[in-house]
Structure formats: C-alpha cells, structure tokens
Subunit: 355 residues, 2 copies
C-alpha cells in the first residue's frame, strides 16, 4: 500500500497549487467553485480524507487539545458521578469549538509524586484540573514550566490560574443550620480526603489544621460557620459509598447518649454510605439519626428515600470551565467563578430524637 496522499498529491492531480488546494478544504479564502470541485474530485480519486491535522497543528501552533487531569486513577475518579458530570458539561461546551479532551491520570498517591508523563510532554493548549491541587502541586508546576494555562476546579485561588468553584462553604452552613433547627446538637461530619495521603479515620485537631485540599477545608468550615462544633470529624480516603459506610460504623457504634444524632457528609456518595451503615447498625433514618449530603445527585438505589443534600450545579460548573478554557485560548484572562448552591431537604433528615 502506498503512503497516505498529501495535499500536494491532491493539488498536483487537480492541476492547482498546494495553497489553492488548501483553500478548497479550509474555505479560508476566495476560490472559484469549479476549482474547488476539481480539488475535491482529485481528493476523492486519491482517497484523500482531508488535511492531516498534524501539519495544521504545527503550522498554527495549536493542538486543539484540552488536557484534563482527573484526580486520581480513572477508576476511582469516575466512580464519582460528580467528576463524570463535570466532564460531561465540559465536553459539551468545548466540543463545538473543535476541541478535544485528553484524559490525564492524576497523581496516584503520596509515595509516587511523579506527574504523569503526558503532563510533561503531551500536546495541549490548555489544562484543566478537575479536583483541587495545591499551590505547590507538581502538576501545576509542570504546566507552568511549559507555559500551558490552567483552569482548576475547587482549588486554591492562585494568581496565574483560573479557579472555578462553588459556594460550598455556605451550602454546608445552610445544611448544618437546617439540622440545628431540627434540634440536633451532637453533629458529626464525614469529609472528603484532606490531601494526597488519604486516610480513613477520625481526625484530630492537628490533622484538621493540616488539610491540603481546599474542598474538604471549605466544607468543614461551613459547619463552623453555622456555629456548630462537630462532635467528630471522620476523614475518608475517597468519595465512595463504602467509605461512608465505614464512617457510619465508626461514628454510630457508641452508646446512645453519646452518639451523634446527625451526620453531615461532604458528598452524596459518602452520605448514602452513611445511610447504609446506619441501617446496618439497626438505626432508623431519620428517626434515630439524620443524614445530609452534598452534591445533589440522583441516587436510584436509595429510593424511596431522598437524601437531604446541598445541590450544586455540576454540569453548569463544567460549562463554566469550558468557557474559561475557550477564553484562555482566545488570549483573554477569565475571571475566577464561584457558583451558587442550594439546600434540598429530603427524607433523610428529621427532628432530633428526644431521648
């Protein structure tokens, strides 16, 4: 089989110059209809399927690729519907602009601090980090070094990157106040990971003072904002149902007069795990314990129960990220964005037990 034909082959077969042939495909300049047809015919005859993107990319200096750094192994990230829906909103927004998403696995753990080779050397015009990242993040540093602009979701606000987040602090505060209003006084919380050194345990004050990832920190601060001091802060290694279940077992096994009457989880997956764990222990939800989540997901397996949760506009967040990406590509400097959230009261929270 012969090598793939190039634009030059097509041009010579059509009896025109390469530049004219280019025009026939790009439509980026005036060209006689007849000439154009001749070029396209020649292309068909040669089985030429259009300009090689590699040539175009080198010439334009643009790859049309948006690198998306997911928080972790894909397997873990994508078990989280929040990441997936965000990605979906992002793709929907940038696809019309001809941009594609390159998946880049994030750091797998503390022990393996090396960034994925794709971050060092893949062609991309912009990068998106969908889950946090600290200022000294090696990923961010590598991107900086390469001069690739970045959009960070739920991260620290830094000067040289664009941040897109939600008002999660206020959301958690509202959920907490809702519980206080129901008479709850012993409130515990189940959090997202504090940083790359993921743990599954109740966190002490020193540990809490050393939270790396902003998202956990802000949502924890929301409880404080509501004037509540949680009776326990349980840190999970990932936003997954099973970690919520483990948290429930740890938090709810104590004597009735000491165990929390309400639990605020920092994600819906964790919250639904807490619901399951509470039931494992023979507790009724919400009669014995009230449980609130965060995200506003649809959790079909919880039906008929509906989680009380802080609803965040996930797809919209993805769209906002997509817009920021396009603005960066256009050479503009997008503003940081902060999207609002709202409390949705479901069936998993109720009056505090009177006992």
């Amino acid at each position: 089989m012969s090598p793939r034909p190039t634009l030059a082959d097509v041009a010579s077969r059509a009896g025109v110059s390469v530049s004219t042939a280019s025009l026939a495909f790009s439509g980026a300049g005036p060209i006689a209809e007849a000439t154009k047809q001749r070029v396209l015919d020649a292309a068909r005859e040669l089985d030429y399927s259009g300009p090689n993107p590699l040539g175009r990319q080198l010439r334009s200096g643009r790859s049309g690729i948006v690198g998306v750094v997911v928080g972790d192994a894909l397997k873990r990230s994508f078990r989280d519907p929040v990441s997936v829906q965000l990605l979906d909103g992002l793709v929907d927004t940038i696809a019309p602009a001809g941009l594609g998403v390159l998946l880049i696995p994030g750091p797998t753990g503390v022990d393996e601090p090396a960034v994925d080779p794709l971050i060092e050397s893949a062609a991309m015009d912009v990068a998106v980090m969908i889950w946090g990242g600290t200022a000294e993040d090696p990923t961010l540093q590598a991107l900086r070094r390469r001069g690739i602009p970045a959009v960070v979701v739920e991260g620290h606000e830094l000067d040289d990157i664009v941040t897109v987040g939600i008002d999660d602090r206020a959301g958690v505060a509202e959920a907490t106040r809702h519980l206080v209003g129901l008479g709850h006084r012993r409130i515990a919380t189940v959090t997202l990971p504090f940083g790359p050194d993921r743990r599954a345990a109740v966190a002490g004050p020193e540990r809490i003072a050393d939270i790396r990832w902003k998202i956990a920190e802000r949502r924890l601060a929301g409880i404080d904002d509501a004037g509540v001091r949680p009776v326990a802060v349980y840190e999970t290694p990932a936003s997954l149902v099973e970690h919520g279940t483990a948290a429930a077992h740890a938090l709810l096994s104590g004597p009735i007069d000491q165990r929390p009457t309400a639990i605020v989880a920092q994600s819906d997956l964790l919250a639904s795990g807490v619901v399951i764990g509470a039931r494992d222990l023979g507790l009724r939800v919400p009669e014995d314990v009230s449980i609130a989540g965060f995200d506003g997901l649809d959790l079909p397996w919880l039906t008929p129960d509906v989680l009380t949760t802080v609803v965040q506009p996930i797809a919209e967040k993805g769209a906002v990220v997509g817009q920021a990406v396009q603005r960066l590509l256009a050479g503009e400097q997008p503003e940081n964005a902060m999207l609002p959230v709202s409390l949705r009261v479901g069936t998993t929270t109720g009056p505090a037990p009177t006992a």
Copy 2:
C-alpha cells in the same frame, strides 16, 4: 512576554547545532556529557521546557493519541462502571508507552447520525470503540476513510478491525442453567439496548430479530443455548439501575402463577435495579424471585446481598485492548480476542418457589 523559545534558540545559546541539541533531549544518539549539560543549562536559562510535541509529531507522523469513542454522552457511558473500568485498564496499559487517550463522544441518538467532528479531524494514531458498533457504523466508516486502525470492544467481527470481547454467550448460558437447576421454569430477561433507537419495553419477535448491537444479541442467545425460552424479553434504553427497576415493575406485576420466578439481566446495574424493583413490589429476593446479573461488579449499596452474576474480567479486557492498540501501532495485525467469564453465585438466586 517573548514568544516561547525553540530548540534552535537553545542550540544557538549553547553554541551547538540544532541536531545536537535535539540529541541532548531525546538521548537518541551519542552525545558528549559536557555538551549535553551545556544544552540543558542553556535550556534552563531560556526557560525552555523541552521539545514542542507538535514538531515531533509532524516529523514522526505520530500523535501518540488513542481516540476512544465512548458509547454515548459521557454522562451516560460513565455511569456504567463497566465502561469506566475498561477505560482504566486501557489507560494503565498504554500510558507507559507514552500514549494518551482522547475522549470522543459517540453518536447521541438515531436522529443525530452525524459523527463527532473529532472523529473526522482530530489527530490520532488508533481508535478504540468501547461499546459495539455495527459494520455500517458511520464512526467506523469515517475511521476507515482516514486510514485510522480501530479496535472495537464487544462488536461485530469485521475483517479490517480488531475485536475484543468476552464469552458472554456461554456466561449467560451458565447463569441460565444455574437457574434451571434451581427449578426455575418461567424465566424472563432484561437486556441491554438493542441498538441506537433505545426503548424501554417488552420486545416482540420482530424487534428481537432486528437487534443491532451484538452484545445484547449474544447475551440473549445464551439463554437459548441453555434450552430456555424466556417468558418475556424486556429491552432497556441503557444499562442503568433505574431501567432495571422499571423492568421489574413491568415484568413482576402480573398474577403469581404467571409471573416469572427468575430474571436474568444482561448487566449488574440492570440486575440491581430489578432487585430494587422486586422489593418495591413486596417480593422477596430470592424467595419469590431469583435475579442474576452480568459483569461481576461490586455493588456496595446492595450489601448484605451479593448478586449472582457472570463475572467478566473488565480491567483485563481494557489491558487486552491496550495491547492490541500497541500492536497496531507497531504495524502488526493483532488477533481478535475473546476472554472467558465465570459464574459467581451470590444470594439473589435460590430455589424456585414451589407454589
């Protein structure tokens, strides 16, 4: 800010030729250690972060990109853990080779037959379709036209593409025989989508004769292989819990002497939905109705129940796809692969009710 430095800038600052500078970065030839250091120093001084991938790509004719066509809107595809775990296995396998995954949304519906523009014009060396695709699939045709080799998961076996699948037909047959062995005679089945025109309804014979997507067809054939004629075939629009629940409502609402005593679902998500739906109707699982699934997922929210299911090696399937991709890149012609499955008996199947 000045334009990004190029290899030529670095070379001239280091007082060497461009090709020597190239060697300093690629290590693809003999170079004196001192020279190399000089080049790297010059690079650091100029804030040069390594060769521009675009140049390398054009030169080599390779983008290092594997386009992965997901079955549908990402949102839907990635709610399916099977797709996600497959992708994870694939990424793990090809990442060490420096290959990246470009996400390409598949066709959204019948009404919108256009393929994603990325398929027509994104730079990629190989394409992977993670969920079926028929011979006349526009996606496959576009790839063919562009001369991009393809690996298809769970699809038709075609001459010019590599197929990776599992022995699902035998797996379903085994699950069905397990039920027959438990005394079940009235067995219904809940299937994956038949094709792009997704429906949620019991399918008649004509509809069944016109299944487009191989995966549903093969798993249905497995029931036949076990010598069972299903009392009803319920087709779902997607492998999601809620569709399984709807199927259960449709299949299990009839009078006790007519309703199926066992249901074989073509996925675990569907099966767990069926379990939930059966319980909604006040039926006990497995006392009143036995339910078997397919995939072998961990479903934390089903605990303490464990689904009886056909376990498939999903991550391994992803790895096999990754190997096929690399072989194609090496110019070889990989064999089609068919991976084995095995039945895992859980707590959701039991003896047929004696009534």
